[in-house]
Every structure is written in structure tokens, then in C-alpha cells.
Subunit: 189 residues, 2 copies
């Protein structure tokens, strides 16, 4: 019926990302993906190695976009303004791309080099934005974990609908980051 559709990994990943954002991570089935691409499920195996690989590709794709969102939001700023802007960029990305964001949290897969690389970039960005605070070596590691947890915690809870009350979440996030920074002395020792 269908001659060659002209599929490739990029088109597959992009379409899969849209499904993820529309229907959630569990909506990304090879059947649904194939249907949207006008192809039968087995045909996808000519380009990807099954669902597991697709998820890895989506994680990498998502991390790249997350990095870009955080990076562009904080570019040119410094100090608490940079931290705050980066946090908002993070939250906005997670809200705008819920499925893709979920994908970025999939098993870091010690063997997947590209995924580790992208995750490393995000980490370095967080480190760089905390650099002005002159933390101790070990303190910096703890602080990065703290900030990451705040960002992910907000993004994740908002996504799961955990914040029932109609109260601006971005205000909560800003205040929390400010509080965290106000007490960042804790990470100097």
C-alpha cells in the first residue's frame, strides 16, 4: 500500500515526543507511534531498536531541550537572578513538555554515553549558576543536589497535580529558591 514514507530516527523521536506530551509517557506505544507515522509497527524496527532504545533517545532529546531552556533563561544573568531564572526555565519546560520531561528522568543507564553526556551538561549548568556563592568543594555537591531536588520536586509535583490549591506555583518556586539561597551558608563549611 504505502511506498516508502521516508522515516528516520529524528522524525520518529519528534513524533514520539509529541505523543508523550499529549498523552503522557505511557502513551508512547510503538503501535500509536507507527499509526501516527503512517506505518506498521514492525517498520519502526528498521530505524530504532525497540521501545527501550526509543525511550533512551527521548531522554536524550528531552535533556537537550531542558538544557536549552535552562541555559537561555539564565543567560546574561548572575547571582540569585540567574538561579531564579534558571529555575523558572526548568519549571516552564517541565510544564510545557510534561511527557518529555518525564522521559529525561528515565534510568541514567550507566552504559548510555550520550545520555550521561547530556545529563552532565545540565549538571554543569547548575554548578555554574551556583559558582558565585563560593561554596566549599563538598558543599557545592550538596547544594547542587538541593537545588536540583527543589526544581525537580516542584516540576514533578505540579505535573502529578499534587498542588491542588489555586495558588501561583511560580511564586512558590521563587520563594523557595530565595529561601534556599538565603541559607546557602550551610554549604560553605
Amino acid at each position: 500500500m504505502s511506498p516508502r514514507v521516508g522515516l528516520d530516527r529524528d522524525k520518529i523521536v519528534i513524533e514520539a515526543a509529541q505523543i508523550a506530551d499529549e498523552y503522557g509517557m505511557e502513551g508512547v506505544t510503538l503501535a500509536a507511534l507507527a499509526a501516527r507515522l503512517g506505518v506498521r509497527p514492525p517498520s519502526l524496527y528498521n530505524h530504532i531498536n525497540g521501545q527501550a532504545e526509543l525511550r533512551s533517545l527521548l531522554a536524550v532529546y528531552g535533556l537537550k531541550q531542558l538544557y536549552e531552556a535552562m541555559s537561555s533563561a539564565s543567560r546574561g544573568l548572575s547571582g540569585s537572578e540567574a538561579v531564579l531564572a534558571m529555575g523558572k526555565g526548568y519549571a516552564e519546560f517541565a510544564k510545557k513538555h510534561p511527557g518529555l520531561y518525564e522521559m529525561t528522568l528515565e534510568a541514567p543507564d550507566a552504559n548510555n554515553a550520550e545520555l550521561n553526556e547530556e545529563a552532565g551538561y545540565v549538571l554543569k549548568l547548575i554548578i555554574s549558576v551556583l559558582a558565585p556563592y563560593k561554596l566549599s568543594d563538598e558543599g557545592e555537591l550538596h547544594a547542587v543536589r538541593g537545588l536540583r531536588s527543589i526544581l525537580h520536586g516542584f516540576a514533578s509535583l505540579e505535573q502529578k497535580g499534587g498542588f491542588g490549591i489555586p495558588l501561583d506555583v511560580s511564586v512558590s518556586l521563587s520563594a523557595t529558591i530565595h529561601a534556599f539561597l538565603a541559607g546557602i551558608d550551610r554549604f560553605r563549611e
Copy 2:
């Protein structure tokens, strides 16, 4: 072949929780559950209304245990000691029961009264532990979100293996909570 096994909702939920903790949330299939209970999959429908309801039951079951863990950890303490202990209790539960913890985050399901009730108890516990800080009405709401995000962020990232480096996570969590409390003035306005 098998006479009555003597199944009931409790036994099903307990066994499902064990599967969740051993193999993760996605390992909780009715097929695996039935096999472990010595029964055929359709038999489970005599007690539960399918996978969806099972997940709701697990969420409630997990929230009860989470509440107990947080509550007993902070009992008798006050101020920052209480917040810290509660946080450690939260983290310990999530680490000890990864699958069940994941389940507690499933869609709050506005229609599920029992789930909302349990979630409400956890929320009230967090509120009570922040009460001594005399926050403003609105500030309290933001602060609760912040603390919850920190707790969930740490639990979730640790679970996903996001903290690669071999550095005590409980130290990171303590320091982050301390920093948050040090800057809690932000929530007084």
C-alpha cells in the same frame, strides 16, 4: 484444582506492594500478582476492579505508611529538629519502599475520597511541623509546597539514580532543609 485460597483486598494489596518494591511500579501486573497469590488473573476481579483500582489502593496504602513514617520520626520533636526528622523519615520510607512510594504519586484522582483524605493527612503533618515558624497564611502554603518539593525531589532523584556520586544523600538533604529553614523569613510576608 485449587479450592478457595482465601484472598481478600488486603492480601492482594500487600502482595502487590511487595512486587512494587521488588520490581518497581511497572512490575505490578495482574498476571505476576495472581501468580504469586496462587491464583489465575481473572480471579483477582472478584476482589478488585482491575489494575486501575489496584493502583489507587496501593496509593492509599503507601500514603498511610508514608504518613506513619513521617509522623513517628518527628513525634516529640519541635522546630528544626522536627522538620529534619520528618524529612529523614520521608526519605527513609521512599528508599525502603521505592515502588510503594512511586505509587503514592499516582494521579490524586479528584474523585477518590480516601486517597484525598490520606494525602490531606500528610499535608497537615507538614503544615504542623512548620507551624512554629509563624508564617503568614499565604506564606505557609508556599512554604509547604517548598518543603514538599525538597522532600519529593530528593526521594525521586535518589530513586532514579540521579545522584551518581558516592556522597551521603542524607547529609545533602539535611543541609538543604537547614538552608531552607534559614531563609524561611521569605514566607512571612
